[in-house]
């Protein structure tokens, strides 16, 4: 047995004084879960402590909470690990809070309907049958089915939604769970509308291009769904396979970035910005959208010039690799962009054949 302090952020909607912290002392084996600690407190010390839970085996997805500031399932987080995680961990204190980005109903129970399920419904979360529907079953290549099992593994716990950093500033962002769900159908060969699904999520100002690429959902997910990786695949398919040019500059930014690295070998920031707004050519900067952005950014540009952070001539010229190296870069681009089909190594599907070194 070991002694722990369970520090819980509580909230009772019937009390007027808002959320508050409460600490409970308990003794449990270090390999016991955070959920068992919460239930121990609930059973022994305070029956009013609210948490959702059911299976206690990391499959029902009910007990999503934040443990020491990180989203997790209470039932598959060991007390020993929880108490040792994070800056300032003392091996004894376990801080449990309700998940973020969703309204708290009571204590550790959040309103999943208001956020998570509403977003899931927004991505048409069912198969749109490809016609004609075969008399018997659809035959799907094994590889394709294995591919979508990664997103099918989602147990709808909301851990990724809880700490999504884009959603924190843009509550309308479709979010990691729903985007992963969208991939589950876009990547399914039986689905009739992958292009329409991609266009929908690319054109939505709060769709796939609103993801800030922070990896938070990848670390949050207890099931290895890697929602952000699925969002990046959706972007790749939308831009590179379906050539969907969206209103959010998503495809333009990606095209401009790639083209500039092709042309210069290095990033050319002063060209990237106008092209992301105005279109992927030297003339992009003369597009009205690029002009508006320029005006909007003038305060920042003026300060940067005043501080001699950037010299105008150098910024406009950009940096370029030496010819020999640029030729090598071109040759790599030609070889790979010239392939009939885009090749993508998916470690989820293939597995690591060797022990990867770090």
């Amino acid at each position: 047995m070991a002694e722990y302090t369970l520090r819980v952020r509580r909230f009772n909607p019937e009390r007027a004084d808002g959320p508050y912290w409460q600490e409970f002392a308990l003794e449990l084996e270090p390999h016991r879960s955070v959920l068992e600690a919460v239930l121990d407190v609930k059973g022994r010390l305070d029956g009013s402590l609210a948490i959702r839970c059911s299976c206690r085996a990391a499959i029902c997805g009910s007990c999503g909470v934040r443990v020491n500031g990180r989203p997790a399932l209470a039932c598959n987080t060991h007390l020993r690990d929880a108490a040792a995680t994070g800056v300032g961990a003392d091996g004894r204190t376990v801080v449990v809070e309700p998940m973020g980005n969703m309204p708290v109903l009571k204590d550790l129970v959040v309103d999943m309907d208001a956020v998570h399920w509403r977003k899931i419904r927004r991505v048409t979360p069912w198969l749109l049958n490809r016609r004609p529907v075969p008399e018997r079953e659809y035959v799907v290549p094994h590889e394709d089915m294995v591919d979508v099992t990664q997103t099918m593994a989602c147990i709808q716990c909301g851990a990724c939604v809880s700490d999504c950093l884009s959603m924190e500033v843009d509550p309308e962002f479709v979010g990691p769970a729903a985007a992963a769900k969208a991939y589950r159908f876009v990547g399914d060969p039986r689905d009739a509308e992958p292009r329409q699904r991609l266009r929908d999520l690319a054109e939505d100002p709060h769709g796939i291009y609103d993801c800030t690429h922070c990896f938070m959902c990848i670390d949050a997910c207890p099931k290895g769904v890697a929602p952000m990786s699925q969002i990046m695949r959706l972007r790749r398919m939308a831009g590179s396979d379906h050539h969907i040019v969206d209103r959010n500059n998503g495809e333009r930014h990606e095209e401009a970035f790639t083209t500039l690295v092709h042309d210069y070998g290095l990033l050319h920031e002063a060209e990237l910005l106008p092209r992301s707004y105005g279109g992927n050519s030297w003339f992009g900067k003369f597009h009205p959208a690029a002009g508006l952005e320029l005006v909007d950014s003038l305060p920042a540009i003026a300060r940067a010039l005043a501080r001699r952070k950037v010299k105008p001539a150098q910024a406009l010229r950009g940096h370029r690799l030496a010819k020999r190296d640029l030729d090598a870069v071109h040759s790599i681009f030609d070889a790979i962009e010239g392939r009939q089909r885009r090749y993508e190594l998916n470690l989820y599907r293939s597995g690591a054949e060797e022990e990867a070194s770090t």
Binding site: T212, C214, R236, D296, A304, L345, E354, T358
Partner: protein, 304 residues
């Protein structure tokens, strides 16, 4: 220690003070930098979004060039984003010999003699400071301790997540190194909400409002926690937190004045370099709360 040095694009573009300060501070750390001048952009995750094999091959070329540097113990970068984007490519390259052979075939055709061999060590300056130089040795080099300087660590997403790819575990708590380095330099670490959050830069062209709100929120949180400055190991974070700070201020509707230092600048100050050698004058938000310019003494200002 000799390292194959990858400065990245932005440190030579819109944040030239980063590259300059790294070069200034390297001799004090006994670091010999061999710049990878022939290498291309890491793609910052964006090229991978376009074509994963392309990003992997361009980075394999960089890794191969690093492996050719005579006497270099490892490859070092000064950009969280480069670290993250390159680690992602390296994970795939190291996981599959057939994929590596495929990528190396493209490399050989474009640049005869170049080939990536599994197992390159590529470390951000922050990791190198703690794991190669060591905090004890670093402490011994401090000439001007950052006493009373209240510093907010801002890591940047790409060197803290995903933790398994980046080798973060109980033996290598790399997500705490910035805290440790600030303390080793004599500064005080500020606890504020933004430490591990996203600066918002990746979506600045897609959703500018959300992007600036992220930057503005973290800067405001740091101000509320009475930080004198933030320190970042990532120039892209620096762009959104410093260059865009006037716009971020509008986005969150509050005045902001939070100096943001690059990691080598903070090191340089503590190791005794003159602020001008560290190009601290090139920031959009003047680091006056960090430096008394008249005497070039590091310290917090007297309360107003």
């Amino acid at each position: 220690m000799k390292v194959a040095y990858w400065p990245g694009c932005v440190s030579r573009g819109f944040t030239p003070e980063l590259h300059d300060s790294m070069e200034a501070v390297a001799p004090l750390l006994d670091l010999e930098l061999v710049p990878l001048d022939r290498a291309s952009c890491c793609g910052a995750g964006v090229i991978a979004e376009h074509n994963q094999e392309l990003a992997d091959t361009l980075n394999a070329r960089t890794f191969a060039l690093a492996q050719q540097v005579d006497g270099a113990e490892l490859m070092m970068n000064i950009c969280s984003t480069c670290q993250g984007a390159q680690s992602e490519c390296q994970e795939r390259l190291d996981a599959s010999s057939s994929y590596r052979a495929r990528v190396n075939a493209t490399l050989a055709a474009s640049d005869p003699g170049l080939s990536y061999e599994k197992g390159l060590t590529n470390k951000n300056l922050l990791w190198l400071l703690v794991e190669e130089i060591g905090l004890e040795a670093l402490r011994a080099k401090v000439r001007r301790p950052l006493t009373d300087l209240r510093v907010g660590p801002f890591y940047g997403c790409y060197i803290v997540r995903p933790s398994d790819r980046l080798g973060i575990d109980a033996d290598h708590p790399r997500d705490q190194y910035l805290h440790w380095v600030i303390e080793a330099l004599g500064g005080t670490v500020i606890d504020y909400a933004g430490t591990y959050k996203c600066c918002g830069f990746p979506i600045v062209t897609m959703n500018k409002e959300a992007s600036l709100k992220q930057a503005g929120t973290h800067l405001g949180d740091a101000m509320d926690a009475q930080a004198d400055c933030l320190v970042v190991p990532c120039p892209l974070c620096h762009l959104n937190l410093d260059l865009q700070q006037p716009l971020a201020s509008k986005a969150v509707g509050r005045p902001l004045a939070m100096p943001v230092l690059h990691l080598p600048q903070l090191l340089g100050l503590a190791l005794g370099l003159d602020p001008r050698q560290l190009a601290l004058s090139k920031h959009v938000v003047k680091p006056t709360s960090v430096i008394d310019w008249s005497t070039a003494v590091v310290g917090a200002p007297a309360p107003a």
